[in-house]
């Protein structure tokens, strides 16, 4: 099972690249020109999140180095130990639904501090990959057509996030 998951995780990316490129070639598209066009968009994505990264790395770094995060984690550890939930990823779980670029900053901070390949780093990665910026998405979609009453959408989306985070922790526990 472990081997199978590892194999699939390893092959997914190369396989997707070759399928897509082959599709392009067979359909006689100018694959490299299109690639360049898309790659340029990639630059703007990174440039757009850079200012947020600077601002938030500074603020989160300050929280960590001043000892505030340690204090909060220490205070909450007994509660989370009861349900076997790793406290270290708590900051990520809290900010993930609210802001995309800040959660990238928080997740990176966690991965750096505990090690990318550590259990905590792995959980943080899986949470980042499997959840979205819920609140932002709801705001963009609803406000684009002038909706005032969003009914239960926030609750349904937060339930999804919660399940995503819990599953991430459980799956990582089972794998390690």
């Amino acid at each position: 099972m472990m081997k199978f998951i590892e194999f699939f995780s390893n092959i997914a990316m190369p396989l997707m690249i070759i399928i897509i490129v082959l599709y392009g070639v067979v359909e006689r598209q100018k694959v490299f020109d299109i690639f360049l066009e898309g790659a340029k968009e990639g630059i703007s994505i990174v440039f757009n999140i850079f200012p947020t990264l600077v601002g938030l790395f500074m603020a989160i770094g300050a929280l960590r180095s001043s000892g505030v995060i340690d204090l909060i984690v220490n205070l909450m550890t007994p509660i989370f130990n009861l349900c076997n939930f790793p406290t270290e990823i708590l900051p990520l779980a809290l900010i993930r639904p609210i802001s995309g670029s800040s959660s990238i900053a928080v997740a990176t901070d966690i991965m750096k501090n505990f090690g990318v390949d550590s259990n905590i780093g792995f959980i943080a990665s899986v949470i980042m990959g499997s959840t979205e910026t819920t609140v932002y998405t709801i705001a963009v979609y609803s406000s684009s057509i002038g909706i005032k009453k969003t009914r239960f959408v926030l609750w349904a989306a937060l339930i999804a996030d919660f399940v995503g985070i819990v599953t991430s922790v459980v799956v990582c526990r089972l794998l390690s």
């Binding site: 998951i5 590892e6 390893n10 997914a12 997707m16 399928i19 897509i20 599709y23 392009g24 359909e27 299109i34 690639f35 360049l36 066009e37 898309g38 790659a39 990639g42 630059i43 994505i45 990174v46 990264l53 601002g55 938030l56 790395f57 500074m58 603020a59 770094g61 300050a62 929280l63 180095s65 001043s66 000892g67 609210i98 997740a107 991965m111 990318v116 390949d117 792995f122 990665s125 899986v126 980042m128 990959g129 499997s130 910026t133 998405t137 979609y141 057509i145 909706i147 005032k148 009453k149 969003t150 009914r151 959408v153 999804a160 996030d161 399940v163 995503g164 985070i165 599953t167 991430s168």
Partner: protein, 192 residues
């Protein structure tokens, strides 16, 4: 939101650092954090460009149409009232495909277009319809074949196996999406 949280973080940190005598550490971390941001962005740049480029090729081929066909049964389950040849149906399928391929920039405009089309048939223009809620929940679930951003970050931090997370991410993402959809259907049944 961040206009309150961000200054809050800074004020709390500085006060706490003075009280606990961690001022030297705080001082160091301020400079360190800016170079961390620069290093991360530079390494992110490569992976993000590569995937944006690859996915752009995907969006120009008939691979897009193929995935739309595969999605048809799921679409029927999620949006039972939509007709298959309607414009809204096409827009929602395209939005889902863009999400799956990780084309965030393409997914959002498509999703908003679908929202606008649905708004035309909406009896109360200020309230979300059931279909709109389902579409939004789908978009908050982040169903993606390759979680490129996280892989890029893991790579930039020197992970031994940056892609090891792919299958776990699939499992978590599917559980989250199913939970979101089931919750939506239950809320609709309850008549909220």
């Amino acid at each position: 939101m961040l206009n309150i949280v961000w200054p809050g973080f800074i004020i709390i940190s500085v006060i706490f650092a003075i009280l606990s005598g961690n001022l030297a550490e705080l001082n160091n971390s301020i400079f360190e954090s800016t170079s961390t941001a620069v290093n991360l962005s530079i390494t992110l740049l490569g992976t993000m460009c590569l995937w944006s480029g690859i996915m752009k090729i995907a969006s120009r081929t008939s691979a897009m149409q193929k995935i739309t066909n595969i999605l048809a049964p799921i679409m029927k389950l999620l949006f039972p009232k939509l007709k298959k040849d309607s414009e809204i149906y096409q827009e929602i399928s395209m939005n889902m495909v863009a999400n799956i391929l990780g084309l965030g920039n393409a997914a959002t405009p498509l999703g908003i277009k679908a929202m606008k089309s649905m708004q035309e048939n909406n009896s109360d223009k200020k309230v979300l319809t059931n279909e709109m809620v389902t579409l939004i929940v789908l978009n908050t679930a982040s169903i993606q074949i390759i979680p490129t951003t996280v892989i890029a970050i893991r790579n930039s931090l020197g992970s031994e196996n940056p892609t090891a997370i792919i299958v776990p991410v699939w499992i978590a993402t599917i559980c989250a999406a199913v939970a979101g959809i089931v919750a939506t259907k239950i809320f609709i049944k309850l008549g909220r």
